[in-house]
Amino acid sequence: MVTPTAISWLHWIPVLPLIAAVYHGLMIGIVRRSTPRWFVIGLSCGTVFLAFLASCAAFGALIGMPEDQRLLVDDVYTWIGSGVGDQVISANVAFALDPISALMILVVTGVGFLIHVYSIGYMDDDQRDDKGFQRFFCYLNLFTFSMLVLVLADNLPLMFLGWEGVGLCSYLLIGFWYSDSDNAYCGSKAFVVNRIGDFAFLLGLFALFAALSDAGTPTVTFREIEANFDKIVDATVTILGTQYRLVNVVGVCFFIGACGKSAQLPLYVWLPDAMAGPTPVSALIHAATMVTAGVYMVCRMSFLYAVAPEASAVVAWTGGLTAVFAATIAVTQTDIKKVLAYSTVSQLGYMFLAAGCGGYTAAMFHLGTHAFFKALLFLGAGAVILAMHHEQNIEKMGGLWKKLPRTKWVFLAGTLAIIGFPGFSGFFSKDEILVAVWVSDVPGHQWLYWMGFATAGITAFYMARLFFMVFLGKLRAAADVRGQIHEPGASVFYPLAVLAFLSIVGGIMGVPQIYGDWLSVGDSNSLASWLAPVLPEAAPHALEHSTEYLMALGTVGIAASGVLVALFLYVRNPDLPEKMAQLLSGLYKLVFNKYYVDEVYDALIVRPTVALSDTVLYQVIDTRVIDGVAINGSANAVRSLASGALKYLQSGLTQGYVFLMIVGAVAIVGWLLR
Amino acid sequence: MPIEEICKTLFIILVIVAGLAPIITWIERKQSALMQDRIGANRADIGGITVLGLLHPMADVLKLMTKEDVVPQGANRMMHMLAPLIAALPAIIAFGVIPWGGIYSFGDTTIKMVAADPDWGLLYIFAIGSIATYGAIMAGWASNNNWSLLGGLRASAQMISYEVTLGLSVVGIFMVFETLKLTDMVMAQDTTLRVFGFIEVFGGTVPAFLDWVRLPAWGIFYQPLGFVMFLTAMMAENKRPPFDAPEGESELIAGYFLEYSGMRFGLFYMSEFIEVIVIAGVVSTIFLGGWAIPFLDQATIIGGIGSFMGEGFATGLCVILHFMTFMLKLIVMIWLQMLLRWTLPRFRYDQVMNLCWKGLLPLSIANILITGAVMLLVRG
């Protein structure tokens, strides 16, 4: 167990954005006076930038420490204190910085800052309501705060606070343009689906805490849980008559929570709909940060999953299936943001696939690189949407290669990164994942490998399709916007440039060992050695270097073929896809309608629930039982009793009351002294 | 303390005070004459001898005693008769705790120049003062006269209001002297106060020549604001001008004692003058050092004179000196009240109440806070 070193200023990293959020909230909600935009921008971006600087400083402080002592804790105050004797628990507002959370805060504040800057330009022309600009930045700051609390939390309850906070902000931002009821519906959907996951998360938390209490060490702090974990490794729990190992139950519960937050099967349905929010939100929340919370949590609890093979298998298989499943849907989508949304689901599946197979480092690596290139892609898509005057259908784009001379290059960088073009960041992280899957001992890991392999190909295909349809070919835009297509402003472009740079070279932080010599970045995977103190590596690399080269070559091959097919279909023969869709109309329809998952959910869950609520709960329970019996009934009973009998006591003669009072007092005292 | 002794001393005080009160009427007449540039009471004579008008009080008493005692029709006879007594009695028995001198020992016997010296002496004065309200209320009620009733109402409202301020304005003094016992208060004032002592509070040292700059350790120097407020509230309790709204000659004819004549009127009249003495006594005891001679404390006198004239003689001399000092202060305070009474115009009734609730009450509370803060600073 690492001895924590105290640090006094760590809490400023989350608090800085909170200050801005609270200020904006007060101004909007209570003062109700508009603030100048330059001040809103300065405060929001400034605080996030300061938080980024502080994160860098904290990162530096961590680097300067001995490798096995890298843990900084800022214990602010006792948040929840309970219990007596040796059964005391205290959940403190305490922030802990270890290698894994250091990585996270850099991503959150760094990418978050870029997206804040991007939002200045993106939201500038938003005229839908007058306070919208400030409200947007209020939510963004609040989100940054919540996410930082989530990743820095020293204990599970505080992490859950951040977990709920990001969910709330997600809801607020998806429904940002709430005057449109569709957007509000999407926000509610995200919230409700997340709630299902959160419920499971809480169950897991309670089960874990109960087990630890039984073992005599009640605690909710991560490192204390880890230190006392051997006491509950063999604990069992009985559910419906069957005995399960506690770690498996807790692991699955936590993973269901992660499914909700990170949009895995079967709880992914909210993420594509979440594209209703403004594009920076999609980039920040639904690509770069919030959705990775689940992955982060699984890695944070890796000591648990390392000893829970069944739970890990669930994680891996869910991740693998999600990756393939979402990738196939992305192939047919025509909305630029939806394509990217399904791509995100698919990539998150990748991360879980890695985490389930014990490749926590690979998962974190892909998390980081994905944050860069997916943020880039989303923001780039936002730039395209801006240029097209809020047109999101890729079938109405095309031929923007000439019109957007700067944006096309950054978008190309993002596309190459996600496809896994050799040397780009996605290439390294995807390889790491596939290697981790290949060497793991999860049941059916070969199948998982081939699923991942196939996903790489499909990903390459749909990303290439997206790029070709947007930038190449004929200009298919509507006539009225055709002449007005323009490059977005500086505040939109420069974040893109930075992200593009990161997408290209971001892979350097975790270049696998086999390329280490070529790229002169040291003898081993630097990210792995950075994370080694906190993340257990399930199995050592038992692969020959030649096998690894071969696998990398295979991946590049399948990706290249995906790109070539897309080139063939969408650039060479633009009429062909239409024909193919008609030829395979059944399959096409199935995929195009996202396998009818939403419809199935609607029929199986939403409609019965609504029907039950409406007929039984509302018309019977609420109207008849609660209103009729409990409220009106008790009132009627009191009224009839009072008007029938008790009213005669109300004589209006005060002296009578005095008499009764005295008699009552005498009776009570007499009874007490009997 | 044995009850018989208290009764005895009270009797002596009654004689002194009852004799003093008529003389004060003379003082007042002379004072007002002086201020209004006239000669004033000088007509009463016995065979042509006027003795500066000192015969006027005697003439007054004679005249009041021989007047008919009228009870108006429809009045409550018993209450009408009782009211003047109830008005006068508290004023007289308030003297019970005022120290006319210190505590002296002649060999084995100890002499206290105070009738009763309870721990709660000052509270006793407040309690007695609060009973004094009843005289005015009863008189106003029992006379069956609307003017009187109004006067009684005003009297009760005014006195009950000023009692609050009265109590709060001396809390600062309680805090400074840490006692409610009047003799202890005076003894605490029988010393000197280093004017530049405050330098030590801030960590400095007082130069020797400045250390000689001293004041008598009187309450007025500790609590100047308290002194002003206490005197004001006491005078308002007494219902004399400028706080004479209950009597209000220009509005209510004579207020609550409008329907009184003869000696009963005289009792009301006398009680006011006795209260003037009470005020003078209490104020000089609390704020002006009572019997204490400035810069000359009891031990110094007895030690200094006793060294060559004998202990017993020195103590006796000390008693006389102290008594004289107290009487001097008493007279000065009486004179001050006369001066105020003939200088200031009357307050209107609402002004009286505003002064109390909106002026003096907040001030007195602020005074307590400031005193507490300063004491915390000085004494730690």
């Binding site: - | 407040f126 009760s156 009950i160």
Partner: protein, 167 residues
């Protein structure tokens, strides 16, 4: 019998007589309240005999000096000379009240009964302001705070009730 006992019985009789005078005086409310003052003062004297000096003084200051004066003030302000109410079923009320009173009195006296210990000699400083004040501001400080809040709310309540036009 010692002096203090004689005084006690004198004041006790005074208190009872004037209390009865207050309750039985149906003609004159002012006289009734003045009877109450006499009871208060007699009680204060009894407190002195029981060596609760501070309470005695406060009893006079607050009850006699403030509370009953307020009663008188209101009576005079409203000019309630006599209360000549229409006769009601008063004999029943009075009979019942008397019966109840006798019952309660017998119960109370039975409750106390004989057998209380001898009255001890009081320790030094008993009943003075010093000990009471120290206790009030240490052990009972919460009580003092509560009392201050109660008084504040009473002031506000009285103001609201007595104000002519609330707006």
């Amino acid at each position: 019998m010692e002096v203090s006992a004689i005084l006690f019985y004198i004041f006790a009789v005074m208190a009872v007589v004037s209390a009865l005078g207050m309750v039985l005086n149906v003609r004159n409310t002012v006289a009734a309240s003045l009877s109450l003052v006499v009871t208060m003062i007699a009680l204060a004297a009894i407190y002195v005999l029981l060596e609760a000096y501070l309470i005695a003084v406060i009893q006079i200051m607050v009850y006699a000096g403030a509370i009953v004066v307020l009663f008188l003030f209101v009576i005079m302000l409203l000019n309630l000379r006599e209360d000549d109410f229409a006769p009601g079923r008063q004999w029943l009320v009075k009979f019942g009240a008397g019966l109840l009173g006798v019952f309660v009195l017998i119960q109370l006296l039975k409750l106390v009964g004989p057998g209380l210990p001898e009255v001890p000699v009081v320790p030094e400083g008993y009943g003075g302001y010093r000990q009471l004040g120290i206790l009030l501001y240490t052990d009972y400080v919460l009580l003092v705070e509560m009392a201050s809040l109660l008084l504040l709310s009473a002031i506000v309540g009285a103001l609201i009730l007595a104000k002519r036009n609330i707006d």
